[in-house]
Symmetry: D2
Subunit: 248 residues, 4 copies
């Protein structure tokens, strides 16, 4: 069972224009379609909850954290962002959606500004540039979104390990729209579509991608801490004494 | 001309045991051998100087920043570490040496804990695992260091773009001892040897590697800021009007 | 169900020394432990069979091809090696074991000589250098093999996407012992242990790794051909006409 | 001094339409602008010359081989293609231009079909997706080509180490237009523009890119052979005896 927590700052969601598109809120919509997947168990968390919805007890029970934020990045405490980063370094998966590119957790994970070129209301076609990747499973060579926010290069990120999707915008721009990284034990995926007024989370291909990403990002190993280990005995000494090299 | 700043916390350097090995200080020794390279201009900076030796004016004139720190990582202000990260994102090269793995700038750049397994006083043999890489230029297949601090896996870093050197320790451990990343516009190299009492910076191969890394990390492009750009006019509109897409 | 074909040149397997270690043959042993995995279905194929054991009908029903060869690489027809490469480009997984580094399929897939430094009868300790990777699932930080053939750097391969395991040899060498690549739609894993007289395929960690690799390499997408596609209608025209961009 | 050989199949170059665009031939034009670079020495070679213009003596004196071919890929002997691959594995740089995606040397180097989606006569805008990379030095965020052959995804290549340029086509497609790989000791760059009737090699940005690529691909190390090395003495024995680990 993969335990997913969908986090949303839940602010735009109260505007009429957004409520019309996402009556359940962005988090509610995402949780709804993920909740239908076999072997996936979903909860939501929002900024307006105690501890921003992410007390240690929730993070402790989260395998993959999905993040949507836009206007309130600054209201997420640095300390919470740092705890999320450490959770990822220890194995938790992280999926940043759309304007989460400027969120504290993603920027701390990637170590870059994550800035980009942008403009509202563009026609986008997403091309699959890594069709054999697990996140591309079941996707066609390309699919279109009638209206999305244009995010264009240069996207200030470290070299992704894989660019699964590349966005083409009718206005003339391109974007690395689906990017993968390994950050310690954890896997991180960033996906560009998902502007609050554009309804992309109702798109079946977008839903398929996020579902695939959840399975891909689910941890296959965890570590408890993030400290250095003083290896008093060398590996050779341990082996000679029939002991295992300790994990840390 | 590549302008290098060698930063050192300059604390161990005042201990007798270290002074015996590095009478010029670690920074002085590194600056000395780099200063002999054609087209390279070197200055040093230390934690005990005003602004930790790195006021904006110095960073502004630095193409590649070399970092050695160990016991005083915490005395480097977060704000300075963040300014260094942003400089790297904007193009400056960064070379972290040895115990700089736990330094604030490197950890912020990489987004991981950079923790590892360690033990003092080991025999190390460094194997070149990317002999065609510019940082390996002039190096033999392997070279040895009689005494170095063992740093062993798992090294909690994001997947390096290239592992140029892999360390073998007689005690039984291995380490990704020379690692490359691109962090925005800037290039980052981490190199494991360089314990304060072991004299590795006098080793000609180590000197060759650091010199090569300086040339490799020297910026080939810079950006002024790190903001997002609102692209009011699309690229297609700009092209139609004979204008260039703006940089940002 | 993942359909695995374990291919072996099946020559050493007839020598007394090898038969003592692998009474079922290398292929039989590998097939035996893989066959116990849930959702995995295994068959074997050997060089001495018609069509080298790999007629189109077998390849057609293979999701992951495992390869062990040593003294008879040249007896594998170029044309068969090329068909395997194309199968991988079209989605089939490929796992090369030990001396398969010099096999025709692997060398054609990687485009390099795959040469290395070697010596028999060494003590090896394998360190996990990517513990969060699916192939490392369930593995400890390090494990040992009392006797293995030393394969040492420089290993002439393209930059691996991930080095999951790094080998330490008591004689002083290191090796990228578990390497991953994406080759078109298909995933490729190379794993260094597995000398015919050393019994490594009886080691539970080695078995775990190969089982993990099978799951990792199993295709998540396939393509039928490998031809270029003349896109008479542009993607924009297709979209305007309500048509999908064709796969190819 | 970087010694460049510009190879061209030199067939289209005799057609009137192409001669009008490239009176010197494609090879002549490329050689002309590269020949103006400081520290670069250029010669040309064509398919119609003895040994296809590439006898061992020419390859021996080549640091970077540039390749343009289209209709006569099959006339390049397999044996020559293999020798080029081995030269690259041993350190020589290789730059494949435009329709060289289907050339024997590039396909053998990459191990994939290098197939793609295509259409003539498109407007292309190339975005720089790795502005800090040496091959992007001096380039703007984007530049346009009024007429180029559309090459669109999926491009069947192994994961590039860096995608320096991403192409946007007005017809709706995207392409990884400038890709880097390390293939053994050698560096490989593929660049998509350069259709024989479109004049892109007269574009100053295209010229800048190819010039940059030449400097980037120039070898920093070479090896003489590509054989395995039997390491009779272990590295530890060699060190104990004051000997160096042999290169191979």
């Amino acid at each position: 069972m993969i335990r997913v927590t969908v986090w949303n700052e839940n602010i735009h969601d109260k505007e009429d224009g957004v409520r019309a598109v996402y009556p359940l809120g962005l988090h509610g919509t995402i949780a709804e379609f993920l909740g239908k997947l076999e072997g996936v168990q979903v909860r939501t968390a929002t900024l307006d909850q105690p501890d921003c919805g992410l007390p240690e007890s929730v993070l402790e029970e989260t395998d993959v954290l999905i993040w949507w934020g836009h206007v309130a990045h600054d209201r997420v405490p640095d300390e919470l962002a740092q705890r999320i980063v450490e959770r990822v370094n220890r194995g938790m998966g992280f999926i940043g959606l759309h304007s989460a590119h400027m969120s504290k957790p993603l920027r701390k994970l990637l170590g870059t500004s994550c800035t980009l070129r942008w403009r509202d209301g563009e026609f986008e076609r997403l091309w699959c540039t890594a069709p054999g990747h697990p996140i591309a499973q079941g996707l066609p060579p390309a699919f279109t979104l009638e209206q999305e926010e244009m995010y264009g290069e240069f996207f200030d990120i470290p070299q992704p390990e894989t660019v699964v999707f590349t966005g083409w915008f009718r206005g003339g721009e391109v974007f690395r729209s689906g990017c993968c990284w390994t950050c310690g034990y954890g896997r991180v995926f960033y996906f560009q579509p998902g502007h609050e007024t554009n309804g992309s989370f109702h798109n079946p291909y977008v839903q398929q991608i996020i579902g695939n990403a959840v399975r891909w990002a689910a941890p296959t190993a965890r570590r408890n801490g993030l400290d250095c280990l003083f290896a008093q005995k060398s590996a050779e000494e341990l082996t000679a004494q029939g002991e295992e090299v300790p994990a840390f």
